[in-house]
Assembly symmetry: C2
Homo-oligomer: 282 residues x 2
């Protein structure tokens, strides 16, 4: 696996790949790779000729009181994991080359970016869309792979790619979970032993709510109440930001579970913010 | 010259050109082509292997009380002019294929888009940047050509292409003028005979202010006053939106003319809004 740091070199490498007719897949990451990322890389390696993993902790998508500084950056491990999952190129640009002084362009994603996660993290998805569009321009992939765990992010990137005619196929891949059901996330590293154990409540809540819906309880009031009660069993939860049922298309709250519903949760355990979701087909 | 309407077909045509190693130049226009546009097309034809002229009256860049509906759309003439200037492809997408229902992504250009023209036409440059980035994604040019007459637009597109790493060389070409000095513009078509004559005051004002600066009068107060007095000679001017001296880099007003200064004017003659500018090297 080749490691590229300079954006210009990345562009040249992609030119050569495209000239040889290679299909390019990209997996954009902020590093701190786990099995979730690796599953995206393996899928890209099956479907494409060249797989570029980008590793960039994007300052634009962190709020002023969020964890940009302490976000884990285990680069050597990341490169080893990416290579063994099948990446052929790792792109690790320095922050100053992505956002040089005077940078001022932003991609705004409208309503999809303002609701839901966007309400709790204002500006977050503008930051995500802006950096992803830069990474897309530098790597010019045919396909880009995102995990379902960050569902709203994946929907927004798909919408941006379509709206701006980027000719990139955005593929949303299943969430990968630990043995006890906790969705894999780089932020799980922040949890101490008790918090880690407490975090399993999220998957339990999603699974049991899914069963509730399948049993015929499909109105939003009952579902919201059930989720809240379930989560309140765990005393280490310090804040529930949202826990409800949404349309997977519009991300609006659903009055009643239809053909397809999305259950989504965002909460804090101690100081660590965790999110997860599950799609239900009643 | 081939005429393409469907975005998908445009993408395929560009794939074939790129696969053959052709250098692609694009001239984005709203149609109503005049000698200014033709000079851009001729320059692109000299510098590139394939020249794509896009013709699209972009609804996003018009304000609610602006001239979107009555903007001239002489398509047959436009195609003839583009072909004879050396275009090899004309891309004329239907509005619904560029902005389908539910379109919601926007490219915001920060401070550069909020000042100057942006103050008088809020949202204008967001609309320009958004459509140009779509046209860039569909035509994937090596170079893109813009006229100096729309100086702020050209600076903003250049900045967007750089910020988002689009790998497109944005070329700013000289303003083309009528024999009496009026800058060519599709909006000149709106002027009646008296207004057309009155409009020459703009170029006269820019030329005489240039001479004033070269004679050593370089402070903003004197220059602003001189421009205002000169323009007030013309009774058919119904509104002066701005007339002053700016930095060609930051577009901020300049206290004193330095190595390089930009004189710029926006005004209305009757109901028709006209802009023009001139770069001075004292």
């Amino acid at each position: 696996m080749r490691v590229i740091r300079a954006p210009q070199q990345m562009g040249q490498a992609v030119d050569r790949l495209r000239a040889r007719g290679q299909r390019i897949g990209v997996v954009p990451t902020m590093g701190a790779l786990h099995e979730g990322h690796c599953s995206l890389i393996r899928r890209a390696a099956r479907e494409c000729d060249a797989v570029i993993v980008t590793i960039f902790v994007n300052p634009l998508q962190f709020g002023p009181r969020e964890d940009f500084r302490r976000y884990p950056r285990p680069l050597a491990t990341d490169l080893r994991l990416a290579a063994s999952a099948g990446a052929t190129l790792a792109f690790v640009p320095p922050a100053a080359s992505v956002f040089p002084p005077g940078f001022q362009t932003r991609i705004a994603v409208g309503r999809l970016g303002a609701i839901w996660e966007g309400k709790v993290r204002p500006g977050h998805f503008t930051g995500v869309a802006t950096v992803v569009s830069i990474l897309f321009n530098l790597t010019r992939p045919h396909r880009a792979y995102f995990g379902q765990k960050d569902f709203q992010q994946a929907v927004i990137i798909k919408k941006m790619a379509k709206d701006l005619d980027m000719a990139i196929d955005v593929v949303i891949c299943p969430t990968i979970r630990e043995n006890d059901g906790l969705a894999m996330s780089s932020r799980n590293f922040y949890l101490n032993k008790d918090e880690r154990k407490a975090a399993t409540i999220i998957n339990k809540c999603l699974t049991q709510t899914t069963e509730l819906i399948k049993s015929g309880i499909i109105d939003i009031e009952s579902i919201r109440r059930f989720m809240k009660e379930k989560l309140s069993e765990e005393p280490l939860i310090t804040e529930i930001q949202y826990a409800s049922m949404y349309s997977p298309q519009t991300l609006d709250e659903l009055e009643r579970a239809g053909k397809e519903a999305l259950l989504a949760i965002a909460l804090k355990i101690g100081k660590t913010r965790l999110i997860d979701n599950m799609i239900v087909n009643p």
